[in-house]
């Protein structure tokens, strides 16, 4: 009896479902689902033998649209015009199929239920996801279980999946938004019908999705190799002195466009966004190999590098090449920082941000540790001891540049 129950629990049902179960999967009551069928919201689905994945996907889409305030009449109109036939349905359809409860997933994967709960929260999926896990989720938990069994620390695993969740959700969000902006909207402007757009979107998804996953996998390997190399260099440097356990020594630069807020007033959001895009692109294209953009916030870029001297050289050279308004302003500081969840934290990071905020257009402002590490080819003009916001002690600041007359 237990075995029978166990088998039923272990495997979700993948064939057509009865109305009650379909309603549960879609997150709606059975009576509502029946009403929607009667109102003709599933014209392309044969529901005589039960609910297939595509029909359940459409039901989920309808639930989401109702939550966003669309009326039944609007949904009927959209379905009649073919606007709900598209890539979103295809994507959601993939999430339907074999389903597992948390208990089933724990049994299948070997991970404890509470660990799965922690992982789902770390990834950033809504807690409701725990009630509706797919076969690929279970497969993912099995990989996690293997990692834990192999001795990968649980805390490190949680931090890793948190970074994955943030990065991958950003990728997916960007893909959908960029396809919408660059494909969907131009088609709409050209007067293409909604139904035709839906067909186009369908094609794009089918063609591009299989291409994107290997690209992400390849880039992951490339970056992994890059950072493993840097870590090896970091170990060698730590052995030769400097660096505290649990912290990493990095140079941190913040760069933004001086007067950007005023610029948005003058030229409008679209043009200002284009200027920021070029600025971030120029930073990205010109950084030394060992430096990287950690994140961008509006027109501000945070850069980290294990090599303070080359980052300072880059900043000075970048300012020479940037003679068009709005001019960048750059602040650099280096020190020991805490690395958590793919980001850098601590007093030194805050200090670097404050230094940048003090820089004027076209300037590179740096702290004494940066001056100490810099090459002799640069000149540093001492600004003085400056009281930076949030810091109890004054910080000695220097203006970095090329020597006069050279």
């Amino acid at each position: 009896m237990d075995d029978q129950l166990g088998n039923e629990e272990e495997r979700g049902v993948s064939e057509k479902l009865a109305g009650a179960e379909a309603a549960e999967r879609a997150g709606v009551s059975l009576s509502t689902l029946r009403r929607w069928v009667a109102l003709g919201l599933f014209p392309k689905h044969d529901l005589s033998e039960g609910w297939g994945p595509s029909a359940i996907a459409q039901a989920r889409s309808l639930v989401k649209l109702r939550e966003r305030g669309y009326s039944i009449e609007q949904l009927q109109e959209a379905i009649a015009e073919g606007r709900l036939v598209g890539y979103a349905d295809e994507l959601v359809a993939e999430m339907v199929g074999e389903r597992f409860t948390l208990k089933q997933a724990a049994k299948q994967s070997g991970l404890k239920a509470e660990v799965i709960e922690e992982l789902i929260a770390a990834i950033g999926l809504p807690s409701g996801a725990l009630d509706d896990l797919g076969a690929e989720d279970v497969e993912m938990f099995r990989h996690f279980e293997t990692a834990v069994e192999s001795g990968f620390p649980r805390d490190a695993l949680l931090q890793t999946v948190r970074v994955y969740g943030q990065a991958v959700s950003k990728i997916a969000d960007a893909e959908v938004r960029l396809v919408h902006l660059h494909v969907h909207e131009p088609l709409l402007r050209d007067g293409v019908s909604s139904e035709r757009i839906a067909e186009q979107m369908d094609g794009i998804t089918e063609e591009l999705l299989p291409l994107f996953s290997p690209v992400i996998d390849h880039l992951h390997r490339r970056f992994l190799n890059h950072f493993v190399e840097q870590d090896i260099v970091g170990h060698m440097e730590a052995e030769s002195g400097g660096g505290e356990i649990g912290q990493v020594r990095v140079a941190i630069a913040f760069a933004d466009l001086a007067g950007y807020t005023q610029l948005t007033e003058e030229v409008g959001d679209e043009e200002a966004a284009g200027i920021v895009e070029r600025f971030v692109g120029n930073v990205n294209q010109t950084l030394p190999d060992e430096a990287r953009i950690l994140k961008t916030i509006g027109d501000e870029v945070m850069i980290v590098s294990p090599d303070s001297a080359s980052l300072t050289d880059w900043a000075v050279g970048f300012q020479v090449l940037s003679n068009e308004r709005p001019l960048p302003r750059i602040g650099i500081h280096c020190g020991n920082v805490v690395f958590r969840d793919g980001d850098y934290f601590g007093r030194e990071v805050n200090l670097a941000a404050r230094v940048a905020a003090r820089a004027a257009a076209g300037e590179v402002l740096v702290t004494w540790p940066v001056v100490e590490m810099a090459g002799k080819h640069l000149e540093f003009e001492r600004i003085g001891e400056v009281q930076l916001k949030g810091f109890s002690h004054a910080t000695e600041l220097f203006l970095a540049g090329l020597p006069e007359g050279k």
Binding site: Q285, T286, D313, W314, V316, G317, L321, K406
Partner: protein
């Protein structure tokens, strides 16, 4: 040990081939032509100057260049560097802003145009290295 050119003639021949690679590349060439940024490169150790611009109607390829300052156009960007830095740059081993800070490259004129050209010319690195590996292996920078 740095990779050095045997002679001025060899340097000129190699840079001519690098320019041809950029001019005739189906991706880089049209982009450089559209960017339309006349550039003057001075190679101070070789006492050589090359002026380059977008090809005009009827001229072959996408770029046109002459090894002289006696040209009928004004350069927009002026870059001065040694033959060693030029060779290193074309192999993707010279970061332009860093080289400017270290005075390995001196930049003048409308330098923001030079910034815009950096991503366009990146594909030349691989092509240039392949050319060196085939014909001038002693110039490959490790």
């Amino acid at each position: 040990m740095t990779a050095q050119f045997e002679s001025t003639e060899q340097f000129r021949a190699v840079i001519d081939r690098a320019m041809t690679l950029m001019s005739e590349d189906p991706v880089m060439g049209p982009k450089l032509r559209d960017a339309d940024v006349p550039q003057r490169f001075e190679f101070d150790d070789m006492d050589l100057v090359v002026n380059a611009r977008a090809a005009r109607q009827g001229e072959h390829g996408n770029l046109y260049w002459e090894w002289t300052d006696d040209v009928d156009w004004e350069p927009k960007v002026k870059l001065t560097m040694s033959s060693e830095v030029a060779n290193s740059y074309f192999q993707g081993k010279e970061n332009v802003p860093v080289a400017i800070a270290r005075r390995r490259i001196k930049a003048g004129g409308d330098v923001k145009s030079a910034l815009a050209l950096i991503p366009i010319t990146k594909p030349v690195y691989g092509l240039y290295r392949s050319m060196l590996e085939a014909d001038y292996p002693q110039l490959v920078v490790q």
